[in-house]
């Protein structure tokens, strides 16, 4: 099994390597002047020339790439001219907000998708099944930013249930002392329960909006796995041994169907990252996503390059971990046949 892990790790590293090359090339080789992009539209020629020298744009391409890599390895993602800070710092300060949102979205998506799909397959009623498929198709087709607006309009402005686009907390409250950066956790740790609930309440609407896309494909996949497992001989044999439909479903069919869902983790991570970019902006959420949007609107190329590389690394890591997890969890792979 160690060889398997090592091999996967090798592939993951090679992919990250390729991704770094790609992000490097895209912004160096495509039409457009990188120095101009970094310096901004309004900088004068001298500044640009200095920038070009500082960025090493006069060196041959492989040398530039080497510079880029060495900086990366040291954690230096460049400097943001529009925001006046190193990119790495910007990302680090804003990451917890996105993580908290991401976790919320994952929880909502997974719980909603699995329970809905399980209910639909267990009940065997055409109506429930169709409603699931229709819901997941609509979920798949909703533009997340538009959905965010609609939800805010209906649930916040019209019905007043949830807070609108005001970020992580009501303006009247101050954040809890920072321990993890996650407001909910930190508030709990500090015993500030009203802050905790406030933060939680603010998480729900944006979290749900981001969760809609993942809900669509998780529910679809889980549904099809359940339908396959239900037809497996072991389900019938279990019933012949005297287990009720419910027990067979919960103890055997569902676990067998959850296993393949591990493969979907990387797609989930990608969806979360994409979702956060758009939704954070609409909800004024101070995370990495809205950072990206701001950087784009400012044409701040360092930030964009840094963020997309980070997203690639995240994706590859998630993918790698999912692969390993699969090997560990599935007894057929873990223990091997006689």
């Amino acid at each position: 099994m160690t060889t398997l892990i090592l091999r996967r790790l090798g592939v993951a590293l090679a992919t990250v390597f390729g991704a770094s090359m790609f992000s490097f090339l895209v912004l160096r080789k495509l039409p457009g002047d990188p120095a101009r992009l970094v310096g901004g539209e309004l900088a004068d020629e001298t500044t640009i020339a200095n920038l070009r020298a500082a960025m090493g744009l006069n060196k041959p391409l492989p040398a530039q790439y080497w510079d880029y890599l060495t900086h990366l390895v040291r954690g230096d993602l460049g400097f943001s001219y529009s925001m006046g800070q190193p990119v790495a710092t910007l990302v680090r300060t804003r990451l917890p907000a996105s993580i908290e949102l991401g976790i919320t979205a994952v929880l909502i998506a997974v719980i909603w998708a699995t329970s809905y799909a399980a209910f639909a397959v267990y009940r065997r009623r055409r109506g429930v099944d169709t409603s699931l498929r229709v819901t997941s198709s609509i979920a798949m087709g909703s533009p997340s930013f538009w959905l965010a607006l609609v939800l805010i309009l209906v649930l916040s402005v019209k019905l007043g249930i949830f807070p609108g686009p005001e970020g992580r907390l009501s303006p009247s409250l101050s954040p809890p002392p920072t321990r993890t950066g996650l407001y909910t956790l930190d508030a709990l740790l500090a015993g500030q329960f009203s802050t905790f609930f406030n933060a939680l309440w603010h998480l729900i609407l944006p979290g749900f909006t981001i969760a809609v896309g993942p809900f669509a494909f998780i529910s679809r996949l889980f549904r099809s796995q359940l339908r396959n497992s239900v037809r497996e001989p072991f389900a019938l044999v279990a019933r012949s041994r005297g287990l009720t439909r419910r027990k067979v479903f919960l103890r055997h069919v569902v676990p067998n169907s959850l296993l393949p869902l591990v493969a979907v983790t990387s797609m989930l991570v990608a969806e979360l990252m994409t979702g956060s970019v758009l939704v954070e902006k609409v909800f004024a959420w101070p995370g990495v996503g809205s950072l990206t949007v701001d950087a784009i609107l400012q044409k701040d190329f360092s930030v964009v390059q840094g963020v997309i590389l980070l997203s690639a690394v995240l994706y590859v890591t998630a993918s790698f971990l999912a692969d390993i997890a699969y090997v560990v969890i599935d007894p057929r792979v873990r223990v091997g046949a006689h």
Partner: protein, 359 residues
């Protein structure tokens, strides 16, 4: 020796008068009356089980023999209420100890299955949950029907595994199904089926997926366990050859109905239905030289979506093929021979066939 063949539904005329049946004093365990089962397919409704009656007594060994598609598995599943859509039971009764099993709720069924009637299936490969240990599945079976602790159930499982011949039983409880060989898995399934001492074991093609040597071992095992626990056995198979050593009663099934019923000795001695005769010819015998080509029954089952006219075996029947009587009138199940043989057959020419055998 050729008795005149006239209106065959009148036994007196065909010269095979029988005495009135002797009342059966053994205790009835399972009684099936008029069972009818259908499958809804894209080509129309297909009748899989067409009016089947049978009685299984306590401790009795019964074999149901028939080729693929004869409806024997559908019948077994219908008996335990596990017939899956698109199949459904459309008529008849299934009485266990006098109580009708049709219409039982899921909860009530869970007290019958695995406890009073157990099943052993053919495909042991996928009959077990691949991501749970053998031990956990065995204890699950045991604890479904006995209110005992996990520990006690586990030790019962160890004993059971030992009984079915799995060495190192304690360690092997923690193994997963894919770590067992095919024969081992089948033993485990048998162990699970007999764990709660059922009254009836229905074994549907339990050895078909195994190689010949393992087949014999598994049958021996099944035989021994069933005897030890005083259960009745319904062995469903297409292989007439394995029936002889293990079963008292044989029922031959063709196209959804029984065509011949007899004690196994009598069936092998004097099969009264052309289909049974052909089947027994197909059995390879180790005590005879193989002469010429292996025997087969040419043709295949009739189209199940077409309505039945006359005898369903007629197209393949070496005796009645082309005969207008066989084409036009469906034969009735009638008793033959001495009463203690309990031999019944549904062929217009049964008399002729048994008479030939006797001569």
């Amino acid at each position: 020796m050729n008795a005149p063949v006239s209106a065959p539904s009148d036994p007196a005329v065909s010269g095979l008068a029988v005495d009135p049946p002797v009342p059966d004093e053994r205790e009835k365990l399972l009684e099936v009356r008029g069972l009818r089962t259908e499958f809804a397919t894209s080509r129309g409704t297909v009748a899989a089980v067409r009016d089947v009656d049978l009685v299984v007594h306590r401790r009795e060994r019964m074999a149901i023999v028939g080729e693929s598609g004869s409806g024997k598995s559908a019948m077994a599943m219908s008996i335990v209420g596990l017939l899956q859509p698109p199949g459904r039971v459309v008529g008849g009764q299934v009485l266990l100890g006098g109580k009708d099993l049709r219409g039982l709720s899921d909860r009530e069924w869970s007290k019958v299955r695995g406890r009073r009637i157990s099943l052993v299936f053919q495909d042991a490969m996928s009959a077990l949950d691949p991501i749970r240990t053998i031990g956990s599945q065995m204890t699950e079976s045991i604890r479904t029907h006995q209110a005992i602790s996990k520990r006690v159930a586990r030790s019962q499982a160890v004993d059971l595994l030992g009984e079915v011949g799995v060495s190192n039983a304690r360690q092997r409880l923690s193994d997963y199904p894919h770590q067992y060989s095919g024969g081992m898995r089948q033993r485990v399934l048998i162990a699970m089926a007999l764990a709660n001492s059922p009254e009836l074991v229905i074994a549907d093609e339990p050895t078909t997926a195994l190689d010949v040597t393992t087949q014999a071992q598994v049958l021996e095992l099944l035989d021994r366990l069933v005897t030890d626990r005083g259960a009745a056995l319904m062995l469903i198979t297409h292989n007439l050859g394995i029936v002889a050593g293990y079963c008292d009663i044989v029922k031959v099934m063709y196209f959804g109905k029984f065509v011949e019923e007899s004690t196994s000795a009598e069936l092998f001695r004097a099969p009264a239905h052309p289909y049974s005769r052909e089947l027994s010819k197909c059995v390879l015998r180790t005590d005879q030289e193989v002469q010429g080509r292996l025997a087969t029954i040419p043709g295949s089952l009739p189209d199940p979506t077409e309505p039945v006219t006359g005898c369903s075996f007629e197209p393949r029947c070496p005796v009645g093929h082309g005969n207008p009587l066989c084409r036009g009138t469906e034969p009735v199940m009638l008793p033959f021979g001495p009463p203690q043989a309990d031999h019944r057959s549904s062929c217009h020419f049964s008399g002729k066939l048994t008479a030939d055998a006797d001569s």
